[in-house]
Structures are given as structure tokens and as C-alpha cells.
């Protein structure tokens, strides 16, 4: 049926009905009725003309598009007639949809979006597993066995990455530099935009260092150099030539900007030096499970061959995408669940609004049904209305989500992987659209079911007062509120538990001070050889001296492992050694190792490692501790108290006997009730210096990793004796006043001392705050969701009661006329509200009791069924529900019996 046809039929229908009315009128007049009465009677007989026409038009059937348009037009009219209702419904839905869409965009960007590599589902990450199932990085010999013996991989690459100083570009930078083995680029299949990849002659010991750089680095710091051969970089003070530029966006692993062949350094012979992360690509058609079995059997074979010498017991193989997102997966899905709950609460409010609407339109709907409008047609009509509501809500919601994503990205903990891929892209928009559709279908079906379940006859007879089905309408309305309350309660309890955890964490004594402390992170050149070590000590001495001279500086120190800072902290096996245990032969080995560059002589190292290895494993002598190289000023600067003995000083020079300061927890572990001062410790596997350490002092415990983990036993060594080989070092400055004033001058000093060491500094308070950022993020989002849900639930209770009071005005009037006091009426209405609330709270308590167990891993020193939180939230809900029901109840008491009885 074309549009013009349809228009013609519309006109004809008008004319047909018009002629009917005229004829009927003429007949009545002929029978003697007064013309005006006749006209009125005829009109009344026909009923609602436009409704009759509409139902008649429905009989034409045919094209569904005009019908759809008609439904939408009609729906629009209905919504415009109730602008208040429409606005509230649209905004409520927009709120739910925007929050859900914003969170989904993060979930999609981080968890679902395929990795931007060729055939990403073939990429896996590989770890060694110990006998307890803990995963560990790969040790070189194990890596080599896995690589050469497997039958399921196209390639297996080991890599390590860390911040290093890179100069030679337009300015020195601290960049993530990845050291990657030969299979890395072939298996990542990362295309180059310029130059060449690593060739076999680059990937061997002693080759001149060549690097690949990221597109970003090339653009920003190499001025998009056309000729790479003229570019010479200094990486960790060693020169390197750039041979190629990777395609834009490739920054694996982490946020690497520079890649260097791992083979430039010799492999370590130890099978327990777990230094390397590993990535692999499955062969075509090989399922993950097969690769797991293949690699695990190689792992078991290594264990069988080497026994106690190795800790590998199996191999873990995980899809790269899962491995990269494993830390945040649960957190994000939890947030998605929470925001989904919020959406449900929002939908529940709109449901209640629609319910009230439908009740008000009962007579109209009944007439439609009586005139022969089919159920399907009615359903479509409701769908059209809810579709309009939810699509409008969806559009507003998407706009809101744009802003929400922006805000989320700023709030999210910066170490969340894949945040760069989060945006409002097509899949996210599709999600928002489907979400709106789902909401429309759900709400439309619900209203249509409600509307067509009523008794038509009763509704017609009631003449539109609609109290006939008001009982079930109210019952459903209250059931919806119960659901809202239960969900809100769960969200509130979740937020409460997170809040209490954060408070507990913040009240933990970390063992150090954070106020008025500035940290300056340095990337120092590695110091393996004795002369490099001396240079590093000289550099640090001068740095400390000059920093101390700055005005406003109270104390200066340094450490290679700043507490709570993200990064690598070293830990490993140590042994309490009686110097008499060391044979002259071993002592000579120790001295030789201490004199030379240990990297040069792997056989020497192995002999020592074998000797001390057995001491480390002896439960009486050995143990595991953190190993930190510091200056004495470090303890004073961040306020770690000296408990016994002394700190380091200038006496403890490189050739003096090496000394150590240990933490109290180590004393408790090894020298309970004994004096540890003067005892000897062997802890040589951390920096390759096997000289014994003599304990000279004991300091307080420090929570180094996170505020939540109990302090670990720590052995502090003197930077003058053990300056460490790793590049990372932080100067710590305690200031009298605002730390910000010192930062600029401190950075200037570092640049003057060594232009190649790009410092980055921050206040320690910032680092401290960052260490709780994940908790804050969870708490803020849960708090917002729970708070919004609470507001919606309050509106829900208020709406249902207010509506009920409005509907029962006459009943209230009768009650008052029969002598009910205002107090009685107040109690009646509020009692109704309270019953609803109690059921909702009970359901919420039960639900939370079941659901909160899943949160346990994210809580700190708070039980998932924390009675205080549960009770507080229940009380809060009661209080607000009481308040929300008080207003309608008061209105009920204000009913004037006379007016009420006349009303309707």
C-alpha cells in the first residue's frame, strides 16, 4: 500500500464515518429528538471517534512501516502529554545506560578488544611453575630447553623490560627498554615502517648494539629522521645504532619504546635465576591444551633430570590477552556487575512509572481491546512507547558515557593494562544501542502484560477510576520496590566493605613517614665491574652532598627500592653463616669474585652458587629476605627508626668488611632472644658480590611492597660497598617545608652532575596515594553506583506510596470520616512503606551475604560478612525509607473527608 493510497483511504474512512453520523442524526431528528440532543446521542453511541478510526485502520493491515510510524507517532503524543513522566523516565534510563556504557567501554577496551597483533589468539605467555603451582619467570637454561624441545610452538621468546636512560635523541629520556630474544619479532609479527629488523649477526654476544625504536620515539625524539644510519643513541651509557622503526602503536611489552637483542648479554647458567618473561606463538591448528601438555612434560623432564637443583616442576601456558589482563579482569567484571545492578534499579523506577501510567490509561486500553485491537497490536503500541523512552535515554546516555569514559580514564589506576585502548568506539556504541533495545523490549513487554491482564469489563464499568486492578498494580509496584531495595542494599554493602577496607589500610602503620619527602628516581648506568661501582658511589656521594646543601633540605638519602613504588624489588635466599664454615678455598673464591667482574667467569660463579645454595636451602641457616642497598640518610629521611646498634657511616668503605643493617622481623625470625649484632650473613646472589655481611644494626619494619602485605624480613646493605648493578636508584630528600619547592633545584643538580641521567621526581605522598589508587577507584565507583541506586530507590518508595495515597484518597477520607485519627492514617501508610522496606532489607541482607564472599579477595582486614557494615547499611536504608514514606503519609493525613468523598 503506497502512501498516497493510504491517505486516500484515510479520507474515505473520515467520510464514511461522517456519513454514518449524519444519517443516524437525521433518523433521530425524524423520530422527534431535538437536533442538538440527537447529535450528542449519536456521538456518544459511536464513542471515541479517533479510537474507532484507529482500530479500523488497524484492519487494513498491509505495510508494517506505516503502522510502526503510526505507533511511534501515537507513542510520541502519549509521552508529550505527560512531559514530567517522560522527562524523568528518559533521564533515569539515560543515567543507567550511560553508567553501564561507560563501564562497558573500559571492559571492552581492556578485556574484550582483541590484541592489536596478527592472529592474537595464537599468542601465549609461558611461565615456569613450582611444585606448589606458583608461576615464576623463566631461567635461561630452562628457556633454552623449552624452546628447543617443544613440538607445539612456532617460536618462544624471552624478554625483560625496564626503565632505562636513553640519550642521543633530541633530549635524554627514561624509556622502557625491552631486551628481547631472537624469536620475539618473528612471533609478534610486528611490521616495520622503516629500516630492518634484528639480523642473526646482531643477536650474539659481543655484537655492536643495535636497537629498534617505536614509531612515537622516532617521531618525537629522532625528528622522524629519514636516514637512520646517522642516529647514534646511548642506552645505559653504551652506544647503540638504530636499525629500524616499528609500526605505530606497537609497544609490547609494557610500554616499550626501544628494543635491544637479549643475546648481547650472556645467558646465566642458573636454572633458578627466574629473570625472563616469555611469550610464544602456537603452531597453526595447535590447541592451547596441547601446547600446555607439551611444555609441561618438558618441565617435568627438567625436574627429573636436575632434582633439587631446580625449582621448576611444571609449565604454565596462558593466552597472552588473559595473562595481560589477569590482574584487572575480576575487578572490571565486578564493576560491570555493579553497574548492571544500578541499571536494574533505574529500570525498576521506570517500570513503576509506567505502571502508574498504564493504570491511568486503563479505560483507554480497555476501549481499544473492546474495539478489537489485538494483543499483538497492543504490545506493539507499548513497545513503541518504551522504545521511544529508552532510545532517547540511550542517546542521552551515550553522550553522558563520553564524559563518563573521560572521567573513568582519569580516575583509573594508571597501571591498569590496556587503558590506551579504551574509547567510545563502534562496538561500545552497538552495546549501548542493544542495551537500549533490551530495556525497551523488557519494559514494553512488562507494561503490555500488565495492561492486558486486567479485566476489560471491570475497567470499562469503573469508568476510568481504575481501582479494580489497583490492588495487583500496587502489589507489583511494591514488589519492584522490594527488588530495588535489595539491589541497592547489596551495592551499599559492597561500597561499605570497600570503604572499611580502605580505612583499615590507611590506618596501617607503614613503618615510615611520607610527609615532606621528595623522591628523585635516577636511571644509573649498570655497575658490574669494580671501576663502574666506584664511579657510581662517587656519583651518589656527590649527589647527596649537593642535595644536602640545598636550602630547606633536612636530610638526604638513597635507596634502590623505594617502598610502595611500583617496580622491581629484589629478594632471594640468604644464609646465616658462621665464618668458620668458610673454607680457605671458598674464601679465595669469594675474594676473586669480589675483585673481578663476575660476569666474566661463569664457572667461578657456579661453584660459589653451589656452595651457598645448599646453605640457603637449610631451614636452620637459610631463609628468604628482601635485599636493599641504601645510605644511612635514607633511614633518617623517611623515618625508619634505629632500634639497636648503628647505621652505616664513612668507615664502611668499599674495602672495609661489608656490613648490613637488618629489620626487626628478620631478628625475630633468626635471632629470637639473641643479639644479632656481629653475626654474619651471606647474601651474594643479588649483586654477584659474595662477601659476607656483618650485622651492625637493627631498624624498624617497613611495609615495602604494599600497605596490605605484612613487613618482610629485610637486609639493608651499604651503597658504598654494594652500590648495586641495577640501574634503578632513588634519592630521598626530607624537606622542612613544602617539598615542591625543592624538586626543581634537585632536578637541576642531577642534570648538572650527569646530563645522561634523566631524573623523574615526585613527592613521596603522591607515591603513597598511588599505592591505594585501586582501592580508591573501587570505592569511588561503588560509592557512586550505590549512592545513585539509593537515590533511585528512595524515589521508588516515595513514588509507590505517593501513588497509593493518591489512589486511596477516598478510602482515607472514609477512614477519617469514621473517626480515624491523623496518627492512625500516618501509621497505616508508613506501615505499608516499612513492610516493603523490611522485606527489601531482608532480601538484600541474604543476597549480600551470598554475593560479598566474592569480594573477599579485595577486602583488607574486613570480613565479607562484616556485621558492622551490614547493620549500618540496613539502618541507613530504614532511615531513608522512613523519610521517603513520611511525606506521602503526611499528605494522607491532610485529606479532607468531605473533599475526598466528593472526589471522583
Amino acid at each position: 500500500m503506497s502512501f498516497s493510497d493510504r491517505e486516500k483511504r484515510e479520507q474515505e474512512l473520515d467520510e464514511e464515518i461522517g456519513s454514518h453520523l449524519r444519517m443516524a442524526e437525521q433518523d433521530r431528528v425524524a423520530r422527534g429528538e431535538r437536533p442538538d440532543e440527537a447529535r450528542y446521542a449519536v456521538r456518544r453511541e459511536l464513542g471515541n471517534v479517533s479510537l474507532v478510526k484507529e482500530v479500523t485502520r488497524g484492519m487494513w493491515g498491509g505495510n508494517w512501516i506505516p503502522t510502526l510510524f503510526q505507533d511511534l507517532r501515537y507513542g510520541l503524543r502519549v509521552l508529550r502529554r505527560n512531559p514530567g513522566f517522560s522527562l524523568i523516565a528518559v533521564l533515569t534510563l539515560a543515567l543507567g545506560i550511560s553508567a553501564t556504557t561507560a563501564i562497558f567501554s573500559v571492559v571492552y577496551g581492556v578485556l574484550l578488544r582483541p590484541l592489536p597483533y596478527d592472529q592474537p589468539d595464537q599468542l601465549v605467555q609461558v611461565w615456569e611453575q613450582d611444585s606448589k603451582g606458583n608461576t615464576m619467570n623463566l631461567a635461561d637454561p630452562n628457556f633454552q630447553d623449552l624452546r628447543s624441545q617443544n613440538r607445539s610452538l612456532q617460536g618462544l621468546a624471552e624478554f625483560g623490560a625496564g626503565l632505562e636512560s636513553v640519550s642521543g635523541g633530541s633530549e635524554p629520556k627514561r624509556l622502557i627498554v625491552a631486551s628481547v630474544s631472537s624469536d620475539f619479532f618473528p612471533l609478534m609479527r610486528a611490521p616495520l615502517v622503516k629500516g630492518r629488523g634484528f639480523a642473526p649477526e646482531d643477536q650474539r654476544r659481543g655484537a655492536g648494539a643495535v636497537v629498534l625504536v617505536s614509531y612515537n620515539y622516532w617521531r618525537q625524539y629522532l625528528n622522524s629522521a629519514a636516514d637512520l644510519s646517522v642516529v647514534k643513541l646511548r642506552v645505559e651509557n653504551e652506544s647503540a645504532s638504530v636499525v629500524g622503526v616499528l609500526q605505530p602503536g606497537f609497544h609490547f611489552p609494557e610500554d616499550a619504546d626501544l628494543w635491544i637483542p637479549r643475546e648481547l648479554d650472556p645467558p646465566l647458567p642458573s636454572r633458578t635465576a627466574h629473570n625472563w618473561t616469555a611469550v610464544a606463538r602456537l603452531r597453526d591448528g595447535v590447541p592451547l591444551q596441547q601446547a600446555r601438555e607439551d611444555l609441561a612434560s618438558i618441565g617435568r623432564a627438567i625436574k627429573k633430570q636436575y632434582g633439587d637443583e631446580v625449582d621448576i616442576a611444571g609449565v604454565s601456558v596462558v593466552r597472552l590477552q588473559d595473562a595481560l589482563t589477569s590482574t584487572v579482569r575480576f575487578r572490571l567484571l565486578l564493576l560491570l556487575g555493579a553497574v548492571g545492578a544500578l541499571l536494574l534499579v533505574a529500570c525498576a523506577n521506570v517500570m513503576n512509572l509506567l505502571l502508574a501510567q498504564a493504570a491511568a490509561r486503563e479505560s483507554e486500553l480497555a476501549v481499544r481491546t473492546a474495539l478489537g485491537a489485538s494483543r499483538g497490536r497492543m504490545l506493539r503500541q507499548f513497545m513503541a512507547e518504551t522504545l521511544l523512552l529508552s532510545l532517547t535515554g540511550g542517546v542521552v546516555g551515550v553522550l553522558g558515557a563520553y564524559w563518563g569514559v573521560h572521567w573513568l580514564l582519569r580516575l583509573a589506576p594508571p597501571d591498569t593494562p590496556g587503558l590506551a585502548g579504551v574509547s567510545m568506539n563502534l562496538p561500545v556504541l552497538l552495546f549501548a544501542f542493544s542495551l537500549s533495545l533490551a530495556v525497551a523490549v523488557g519494559l514494553g513487554t512488562f507494561t503490555a502484560m500488565r495492561a492486558s491482564s486486567g479485566d476489560i469489563r471491570a475497567a470499562l464499568a469503573e469508568g476510568g477510576r481504575g481501582s479494580a486492578s489497583s490492588f495487583s498494580t500496587q502489589f507489583i509496584g511494591r514488589a519492584i520496590v522490594v527488588m530495588q531495595l535489595a539491589i541497592t542494599m547489596t551495592l551499599l554493602i559492597g561500597a561499605g566493605l570497600f570503604g572499611r577496607s580502605l580505612m583499615r589500610v590507611l590506618s596501617v602503620d607503614p613503618g615510615f613517614r611520607t610527609e615532606h619527602v621528595v623522591t628523585i628516581d635516577l636511571a644509573l648506568p649498570s655497575a658490574f665491574s669494580p671501576d663502574m661501582k666506584i664511579r657510581r658511589v662517587q656519583f651518589l656521594n656527590e649527589l647527596f652532598a649537593r642535595l644536602r646543601a640545598l636550602p630547606g633540605v633536612e636530610d638526604v638519602g638513597g635507596t634502590n627500592a623505594l617502598p610502595l613504588a611500583t617496580g622491581i624489588s629484589s629478594n632471594g635466599g640468604f644464609a646465616v653463616v658462621n665464618p668458620q664454615q668458610i673454607s680457605p678455598r671458598t674464601q679465595e673464591l669469594i675474594n676473586r669474585a669480589a675483585r673481578g667482574d663476575v660476569r666474566e667467569d661463569s664457572a667461578l660463579m657456579k661453584e660459589l652458587t653451589d656452595f651457598f645454595g645448599q646453605l640457603f636451602r637449610d631451614p636452620k641457616q637459610g631463609g628468604s629476605a628482601d635485599y636493599t642497598s641504601v645510605s644511612e640518610g635514607y633511614f633518617r629521611s623517611i623515618g625508619i627508626p634505629l632500634v639497636r646498634g648503628r647505621l652505616f657511616d664513612d668507615r664502611d668503605a668499599m674495602d672495609a668488611p661489608h656490613v648490613a643493617v637488618i629489620s626487626e622481623s628478620l631478628v625475630r625470625e633468626k635471632w629470637a632472644n639473641q643479639d644479632p649484632i656481629g653475626r654474619s650473613i651471606e647474601f651474594g646472589n643479588m649483586d654477584g658480590d659474595p662477601r659476607l655481611l656483618t650485622v651492625i644494626g637493627v631498624v624498624g619494619d617497613v611495609r615495602e611492597r604494599t600497605l596490605e602485605t605484612p613487613p618482610r624480613p629485610t637486609i639493608y646493605v651499604n651503597y658504598r660497598q654494594r652500590p648495586q648493578t641495577t640501574s634503578r636508584f632513588s634519592a630521598v630528600v626530607r624537606t622542612a617545608g613544602d617539598p615542591a619547592t625543592v624538586i626543581a633545584s634537585a632536578q637541576k643538580i642531577v642534570r648538572e652532575l650527569d646530563p645522561d641521567v634523566p631524573p623523574s621526581s615526585s613527592s613521596f605522598a603522591t607515591i603513597f596515594a598511588a599505592s591505594t589508587s585501586v582501592r580508591r577507584f573501587n570505592l569511588v565507583l561503588f560509592g557512586i553506583f550505590a549512592g545513585t541506586a539509593l537515590l533511585l530507590a528512595i524515589a521508588g518508595i516515595y513514588g509507590v506510596l505517593a501513588y497509593s495515597v493518591a489512589r486511596r484518597t477516598r478510602e482515607m477520607g472514609v477512614r477519617m470520616a469514621l473517626g480515624a485519627s491523623a496518627g492512625n492514617v500516618l501509621r497505616l501508610v508508613m506501615g505499608q512503606g516499612m513492610v516493603t522496606t523490611i522485606i527489601g532489607v531482608i532480601l538484600g541482607l541474604v543476597g549480600s551475604f551470598i554475593l560479598m564472599r566474592f569480594l573477599q579477595s579485595m577486602l583488607y582486614e574486613v570480613g565479607a560478612a562484616d556485621p558492622l557494615t551490614f547493620a549500618a547499611v540496613a539502618l541507613l536504608l530504614f532511615a531513608v525509607a522512613l523519610l521517603a514514606s513520611y511525606l506521602p503519609a503526611r499528605r494522607a493525613t491532610k485529606v479532607d473527608p468531605i473533599v475526598a468523598l466528593r472526589y471522583e
Binding site: 474515505e12 474512512l13 467520510e15 464514511e16 464515518i17 456519513s19 454514518h20 449524519r22 444519517m23 443516524a24 437525521q26 433518523d27 453511541e45 459511536l46 464513542g47 471515541n48 479510537l51 474507532v52 482500530v55 479500523t56 488497524g58 484492519m59 487494513w60 493491515g61 476501549v367 473492546a370 474495539l371 478489537g372
Partner: protein, 121 residues
């Protein structure tokens, strides 16, 4: 309440009988909507009152099903009216509807006046 009494006097058309009545009325020739409702009212001894609101949807539905056809005519009092007449298909439909109605009547009669009532004793 006089309105209530009127409701009781009026017999509601059984669902589905309106179609039969319309087809039957049109057997005697083309007729417009108002004429059809008047004819049903008159022929039922003024018992059946055709609800105008149901009449036009029914007419349009029957036309869509091809049982009746419509054309515009000028009536006795010089009005342009839309008149409906039976089609061949409509006649067949009427015959089958009538026989179905007969079955219903017989069945109802059988229930309301059971033949075996005397043999009970």
C-alpha cells in the same frame, strides 16, 4: 440508575456473530454501514444493538478478507455513502458460517433441553 437498566436489556453480540450478521444482511443487496446496523437492529426485533465502534473495524476486516466489496454511491437523500456488497467468496463464507451457526444452535438446544430427561427415573 437508568443507565444500568439499559445495559441489562441489551444483548451483547456473541464474539464472531457480527461477521455472520453482516454477511446475512448483505444477502439482500448492497448496503452502507449505517443501513447495516439499522437492518440488524430491526430484523432482531430491536434486541441486537450493533456497537458502531465494532461495526466499521469489522466491515474493513471483511473487505480485506475479500468477502465483501465496497463502492461509493449516492443515497436516496443525495448523500455520498460507501456501500458494501457480498462477493462470490463472501457468499460461500456465509453458507459455511450459517451451517456452523446451525451446529452451535443444535448443540446449545441439546444442552438446554436434554431429550433423555424423562428416562432418568
Amino acid at each position: 440508575m437508568p443507565r444500568k437498566e439499559r445495559y441489562q436489556n441489551r444483548i451483547e453480540l456473541l464474539q464472531g456473530t457480527l461477521d455472520l450478521l453482516i454477511l446475512q444482511t448483505l444477502r439482500w443487496g448492497a448496503q452502507h454501514g449505517y443501513g447495516i446496523s439499522q437492518a440488524i437492529h430491526g430484523n432482531s426485533g430491536e434486541v441486537f444493538q450493533v456497537d458502531t465502534g465494532s461495526l466499521y473495524p469489522a466491515l474493513h476486516r471483511l473487505e480485506k478478507q475479500g468477502w465483501i466489496q465496497s463502492e461509493w454511491k449516492v443515497s436516496e437523500n443525495k448523500q455520498r455513502v460507501k456501500a458494501y456488497r457480498l462477493t462470490v467468496l463472501g457468499r460461500k463464507r456465509l453458507a459455511s458460517e450459517r451451517s456452523r451457526w446451525k451446529q452451535v444452535m443444535e448443540a446449545m438446544a441439546g444442552i438446554l433441553n436434554p431429550i433423555g430427561e424423562e428416562s432418568k427415573a
